[in-house]
Amino acid sequence: MNSLPTKQPTDAASAADDVDPDMTPEELQTVAEQIATNVEAVIDGKHEAVRVALTVLLAEGHLLIEDVPGVGKTMLAKALAKSVDSSVSRIQFTPDLLPSDVTGVSVYNQPDRRFEFKPGAVFANIVIGDEINRASPKTQSALLECMEERHVTVDGSTYPLPDPFIVIATQNPVEMEGTYELPEAQRDRFMARIAMGYPDEQAEIEMLTGRDTSSPLARIGAVVSTERLRQMMSLARRVFASDALKQYAVAIAHGTREDPDLRLGASPRATLQLVRAAKARAALAGRDFVLPDDIDDLAIPVLAHRLLPTSRAMGQHHERTAVLSEIVARVVAATPVPTGQQK
């Protein structure tokens, strides 16, 4: 709604980034709109999920898509990856998948008489980790380590991952058969978790029509280059977050830590990622500053998957996601919105 000033105020966190004079907020919005349209051509009626996915992409975070099989988790991940002209790899996690399959392996090169590093599937701009919770914990942690460190260390050598590096993982609800639940420390590395939910009747009918002839994925192509995406990310990082807003984010995190229904509250990393995601969302809205509304909208996707409810709060409920979402909503609703800047 607001036009951004041409000269961006410099945020401390983004001081090191090079500023591309060609990328304007309007362009960012346009491109983001194109990506959203592209993805929604494949996934019908999931506007909010797509929007959060786009936010996470822009914030250079990792996205966890959790839902029952067959609702389009992988489709969303693929569509998002395909919209960006970048290297994409897809790992189907299975119980027998080895860590080296993910990170890569050093093999002996007979002619050169030395070890040579064969990069694993993780060496790509966008990595789709399908059914991540079906892999063994060992393999899971190999991927999750890469996500945090953004490089791979094999046999004492460190290999940096491409920039940008984004993991879009899908998983089935933990209550399903043959799954290993991600430990909370590893869930914490995903910026946001979204659920797809079942499509509504109309969207499902349209899907049937569209799928008759060909896979919808084949119809879409890349709408943004890696370079462009990097510029967008840089611009999103430079969105201004006022002190009052940071207070608000911290107050919400504190609220989760003190909530009697939670065993584990939000980590400082969660607060950081909440503000970072909020910046991306503000940028998507064409704003150069974050509003509490951005925080409110993102609180559930960004915070809920990191929290642990008390067994009391869970009770006879099996839908942990629903319980946690409700708790987060309650905490947010109880946190007063700051009334002014503290400068």
Partner: protein, 783 residues
């Protein structure tokens, strides 16, 4: 929407697993906060009950009743609150507390008739009925403070329990705690009317504080709902105003209250109670036969029940004196003041009382003996009142032997003023009586030398043609009563019924130094036939009557009949020897040399300039002052709020004010109009809600242009406030245009709010009371 309140509390009671419905974490905390709210309301209600018991302080002697009252209140409220704390269904609490109340009252007052000492049986109901009947009888026999008789304790405890239960029902079940104020005022009216000096200010303040505490507890419970807050505040303001008015006009309140309370409280059937009820009884639309009797007297005398001889400052009462058992063998030989010189004949009267309940036995004066009474009775020496200890008159059949006194005018005239000490109290007049009574008495009796001549002159004054009998005029004219003030009005209006005539003559006689009292009883009624040598008479409820009795040494108490058109003027009262044709213009010379007159008896006109009109003016002046003060108090918040808004908008409009000022004003105005403005809501969400108020408003107001203008103004405001708060800038942001934006938005919201909310916003601007307008709890995610 108070779900978040008290999320830090963990209930010690009730595991959440006990609930079978879908318990979500939010729901769980909602229940916990509900418990906190219930507890708060329960405690506040208890505080109200304690304050009420403090107000009842002087009614009954001792402290035992106080403990019982507190006990019943605590049990009723405790059971109700307890039921809610352990999360029984909401409907259980009032039922359980009612049951507990009944058990407790049974255990306290009728354990003998109850199963296990507390489960009531039909016999318990009988016992309770007896207690109530007993209380009726004891009511007039007791002064204030009364002895802690079981029947009084029963009434008090039962009333306390009912009040506590009703208050709980109103405040918690119906969510209308403000109406508890009505209960409090009703409960306070009893001590206010009965206590000398009215309610103690401490009790008033305590009740007010407890009531405000209750409202506060409720506001906390329903926070976010501006309308509830507003209503509570409005009623609280009203309650304060009422308390102020009562406090300021306490004397008047006492006078009105004192006559009203004993009257309405104890009038049953066709029974008799002091003067005020008498009027009410006489105005009964359908008279019924209350007594049939046969008498040997050719001209039957009035059937006297009792005398009202003590004017307590506000109401005529029967001053109870020591009474002794009265049985069929009792023969009263001594009539007060009477000597053998007065001729008398023996009269036998067979009385059948029908549907009339009173503890006073109707009998011709002076009674010698009564045969055939059921129950236990006692009699008082000073006026021969026969009162039931455990019995009432209803359906009694008895035979009275009495004497028909025939004093002569000469005897009365020569009686002198050598009054015995026993009638000194019958000379007392209230020090505050208006001077018109004494002045009229003196002007009427100017020229009369002896007390008897004066009495006859007084009686003649009422029969001189100017006075008329009217049951309705005093009530319509607002002077129905027996206080000096109302009697003064009666003397001016010259219309009333027996109560006024009797009270007026009694006051005037006392002013003249003649001992006087009011007798209450029945006129002889109408003759319906003859039975042997006896005449048969029938008395209807219309024949209820009051008349003055004056004391003459050697003759005793002599009845007079000032009431126009009722009863018969006695022979001795028609003497024309010294009857003065009085005119109200004749100058009064105070009767001098009345050595017996007591100090308190000094005619009001001698020492004071107590002009009734001046009193009226000064009292109406004070009423006007009170009204003005009340109005000022009522309007004060409105004025303060308007000034505040004008100042804020002016400062924004001239560029000196910041965006935050404009935003604060917008929120305050919305709060006044009954919209919730939770601090947990972002400006954008709040704006969305505001926009919906006019987007979804039906009807033509506001019109499309106004809606569009308001929407545009709201956009500007939101943009400004978001930038002011969260955009990268330093220093406050000001825009003079925002003042107009605020005005546009507020008028659009007000247009959709309806007149009631607008009026409340004007008169009770709750934003003044809400402090920082914090109202957390509106769940933004729920919508």
């Amino acid at each position: 929407m108070a779900e978040v309140v008290g999320t830090q509390h963990r209930s010690p009671l009730g595991s959440w697993r006990t609930t079978t419905s879908q318990t979500t974490p939010a729901g769980d905390s909602r229940q916990r906060s509900q418990i906190a709210a219930d507890l708060r309301l329960g405690l506040a209600l208890s505080a109200v009950m304690v304050a009420l018991t403090v107000a009842l302080g002087g009614l009954i002697t001792g402290a035992g009743w106080w403990l019982e009252l507190i006990l019943v209140s605590v049990v009723v409220l405790g059971v109700a609150t307890g039921c809610r704390l352990v999360r029984l269904p909401r409907a259980v609490a009032p039922i359980a507390s009612l049951v507990a109340f009944v058990f407790l009252v049974t255990a306290l007052f009728a354990p003998g008739s109850a199963v296990l000492g507390f489960i009531p049986t039909p016999a318990t109901a009988t016992e309770f009925t007896q207690l109530i009947n007993q209380a009726r009888v004891s009511f007039y026999n007791q002064g204030v403070p009364a002895d802690p008789l079981p029947e009084f304790l029963f009434l008090l405890v039962a009333a306390g329990g009912v009040i506590a239960w009703t208050a709980d029902l109103l405040a918690v079940v119906l969510h209308r705690p403000a109406f508890v104020g009505v209960l409090v005022v009703a409960a306070l009216s009893a001590p206010a009317a009965l206590l000398d000096g009215g309610l103690s200010p401490l009790a008033l303040v305590l009740c007010l504080v407890a009531y405000l505490l209750l409202l506060r507890a409720d506001v906390r419970t329903t926070r976010g709902a501006g309308s509830e807050t507003g209503a509570s505040l409005a009623i609280a303001t009203g309650a304060i105003v009422v308390a102020l008015v009562i406090g300021t006009t306490a004397p008047g309140f006492q006078q009105v209250g004192r006559q009203a309370i004993p009257a309405s409280g104890v009038l049953f059937g066709q029974g008799v109670s002091p003067l005020i009820d008498l009027g009410a009884d006489l105005r009964r639309p359908l008279p019924v036969t209350v007594i049939d009797y046969t008498t040997t007297d050719a001209t039957p005398a009035y059937l006297q029940m009792t005398t009202l001889d003590a004017f307590s400052g506000a109401v005529w009462r029967h001053q109870r004196s020591a009474s002794t058992f009265f049985t069929s063998s009792t023969s009263i030989s001594k009539t007060p003041g009477l000597t053998d010189k007065v001729k008398s004949t023996k009269v036998t009267t067979d009385v059948q009382v029908h549907n009339m309940t009173s503890e006073w036995l109707p009998a011709p004066y002076p009674v010698k003996s009564v045969a055939g009474l059921n129950g236990s009775w006692g009699w008082e020496q000073k006026d021969l009142t026969i009162a039931g200890y455990t019995a009432t008159t209803v359906n009694q059949q008895y035979t009275v032997t009495s004497r028909d006194l025939k004093p002569t005018a000469r005897q009365l005239r020569s009686a002198g003023t050598n009054y015995p000490g026993s009638v000194e109290n019958d000379l007392l007049v209230p020090s505050s009586s208006p001077s018109i009574i004494a002045a009229t008495a003196r002007s009427v009796t100017a020229g009369a030398k002896t007390p008897y001549d004066k009495a006859v002159a007084l009686q003649a004054y009422f029969h001189d043609g100017e006075f008329r009998y009217s049951l309705t005029a005093p009530k319509d004219g607002g002077y129905d009563g027996d206080t000096p003030g109302t009697i003064a009005t009666f003397l001016e209006q010259k219309a009333g019924y027996c109560v006024h005539f009797a009270a007026a003559m009694t006051f005037m006689a006392r002013d003249l130094g003649i001992p006087a009292r009011i007798a209450v009883g029945y006129l002889p009624g109408t003759q319906t036939g003859v039975s042997g040598s006896k005449a048969v008479y029938s008395i209807s409820s219309d024949d209820l009557h009051a008349w003055p009795e004056l004391f003459f040494p050697g003759v005793g108490w002599v009845p007079f009949e000032p009431t126009v058109g009722r009863g018969t003027v006695p022979d001795y009262g028609t003497s024309t020897t010294t009857q003065t044709q009085t005119t109200t213009t004749s100058t009064a010379t105070p009767s001098a040399g009345n050595g017996l007159k007591l100090d308190t008896n000094t005619p009001a006109s001698t020492g004071t300039t107590d002009d009734p009109t001046a009193t009226a003016i000064s009292s109406s002046g004070s009423v006007a002052a009170v009204v003005l003060v009340v109005l000022a108090l009522l309007l004060a918040p409105s004025i303060v709020r308007r000034r505040l808004r004008a100042r804020r908008l002016a400062s924004v409009g001239n560029g000196g004010g910041k965006v935050s000022t404009a935003w604060t004003e917008l929120r305050a105005s919305c709060l006044d109009l009954g919209l919730a403005v939770p601090a947990t809501e972002t400006p954008r969400v709040f704006a969305g809600r505001l926009r919906r108020t006019w987007d979804e408003a039906a009807g033509a107001v506001p019109d499309a242009d106004a809606r569009a203008a308001a929407s545009a103004a709201l956009d500007e405001l939101i943009d400004a406030v978001e930038r002011d708060r969260f955009a990268p800038r330093t220093g406050g942001y000001a825009d003079p245009k925002l003042a107009d934006d605020v005005t546009a938005v507020i008028s659009a919201v007000a247009a959709t709010a309806g007149w009631a909310r607008r009026a409340r916003a004007l008169l009770v601007p709750v934003s003044l009371f809400e402090g920082r307008m914090r109202s957390p709890g509106a769940a933004r995610f729920s919508s």
